[in-house]
């Protein structure tokens, strides 16, 4: 099945990805955001917060946004 994955970490891309039936949000996060802590991210499915056991459905829209984004002063060249 295909879901829309909006990843606001890094490049901020939005694309359709294929996941196997029965994948939970927690499993999806582990696959896509390898090595990251889920507590550092805001995860929304279809614009709503969901429990980590939520099983993804075909056509779902998953958004992952980091809760800590570091600002930085521009470098003068």
């Amino acid at each position: 099945m295909r879901i829309l994955f909006v990843n606001n970490d890094g490049g901020g891309f939005a694309d359709y990805v294929t996941v196997t039936e029965g994948t939970t949000v927690e499993q999806f996060f582990t696959i896509k955001m390898e090595g990251r802590e889920s507590s550092d991210y805001l995860i929304r499915v279809n614009r709503q917060p969901v429990p980590k056991e939520y099983v993804l459905q075909d056509g779902d829209r998953v958004t992952i946004t980091p809760t800590k984004i570091e600002g930085a002063r521009p470098v003068m060249v």
């Binding site: 901020g12 614009r47 980091p66 600002g71 002063r73």
Partner: protein, 365 residues
């Protein structure tokens, strides 16, 4: 009545969604125009290269070696610019084409933003869309709530300008710079750091809720390695000279101008021992020590200023004193010479010239 209010609100959100969709359309047009302008520029560069190639061939055929060398060096310069230009052009033309979101997507984004941040403010006249953050506290320093105000009319300038402002509603700015209301906000502009690319991507794709979420998350995070003003220096007193922040106990007040300075920008008057800043101190031309303006007096000869300590040895600067001493020495030498001459003259006068034969004795044979 409630139903009417609800309907009015829905109408406003739809109106706002339409405006946002138009601005995204403008942004897309702006990007296409940028590509068009780059393509035109590209074709001009190519045509210049063709001209240079022709000129070079003619120069070589006719044996004009100096001319050929000039053309070669011009081509060499242009090639460096050209490769950089080509890289930029490639990035622009190969960038993923963002399809415009549907009106219903933008509508859903606005409803989500309302759900996440409470009321969203929409100013039809100014064409701004704003949300307000919770009061933000970083490392125990309260910075108050901020308004994130997105100017819909400026979204099409996304690639050259920031279309949103961060307004401190209860400002607690850094003591050394009132424009800095947050370690990463100066003059209502947020320095996005690692958020730069995803924030722009969210705006391009019409994901307005994601846009606001990332801004809020950025405001709630402190990056100590690159702030406008470090939170360690947030409060305290700002050195009037170098601008660094110092705590109340490490600040020095200048006796002369009354401003406050850090230790590095302060010294003391070597004449009266009062604390002075480097701007109020002047080096005494005589002894080279730093003194305050009040402890400087004028050299009675040349008018240059010298410190009181040096003035105690006479009110002359070292140069004038040297001149005076030399002149005194010269006068003394001259006087001595004159006295010597006078004495010689006197001696000569005492041995008076006698008439011929005077003093001679006749010796009988």
């Amino acid at each position: 009545m409630r139903k009417e209010n609800f309907m009015e609100k829905q109408k406003n959100i739809i109106r706002l969604s339409n405006l946002l969709l138009d601005s995204l359309d403008e942004l897309k047009k702006a990007k296409s125009q940028q590509i068009q302008s780059m393509m035109e520029d590209f074709s001009i560069r190519c045509s210049n290269a063709t001209k240079d190639s022709h000129l070079f061939r003619v120069a070589v055929e006719k044996g004009w070696l100096i001319g050929a060398e000039n053309i070669r060096s011009r081509i060499s310069r242009n090639i460096n610019d050209f490769s950089y230009y080509l890289q930029t052009f490639k990035q622009l033309i190969n960038a993923d084409e963002t399809s415009l979101p549907k009106l219903s997507d933008i509508y859903a984004e606005l409803l989500q933003a309302e759900q996440e941040f409470g009321d969203i403010k929409f100013d039809l006249k100014e064409k701004t869309l704003s949300i307000t953050t919770e009061p933000i506290t970083l490392e125990d320093i309260p910075l108050g709530p901020f308004e994130v105000s997105l100017s819909i009319g400026r979204i099409n300038n996304l690639y050259s300008d920031s279309p949103y402002r961060i307004i401190a509603l209860e400002p607690n700015p850094a003591s050394c710079n009132e424009e800095v209301t947050h370690p990463h906000v100066s003059d209502e502009t947020l320095c996005e750091g690692e958020g730069h690319v995803p924030i722009r991507a969210a705006l391009e794709q019409g994901r307005f809720c994601d846009f606001f979420t990332m801004i809020v998350n950025l405001l709630q995070t402190y990056n100590p390695s690159s702030p406008y003003v470090s939170l360690d220096d947030w409060s305290g007193i700002c050195c009037y000279d170098c601008g660094s922040t110092v705590d109340n106990e490490s600040v020095y007040s200048c006796y002369s101008c009354g401003n406050e300075f850090c230790e590095c920008c302060t010294s003391y008057c070597h004449s009266c021992d009062e604390t002075i800043c480097l701007g109020c101190g002047t080096e005494c031309p005589n002894c080279g020590e730093l003194v305050c303006h009040k402890c400087l007096i004028e050299c009675s000869e040349c008018g240059s200023r010298l410190c009181r300590c040096c003035a105690e040895e006479g009110d002359l600067c070292s140069e004038c004193r040297d001149i005076a001493e030399n002149s005194e020495q010269q006068t003394k030498t001259n006087n001595e010479k004159e006295n010597k001459n006078e004495e010689q003259i006197k001696c000569q006068n005492n041995a008076a010239v006698q008439p011929d034969g005077v003093g001679k004795t006749t010796i009988h044979a």
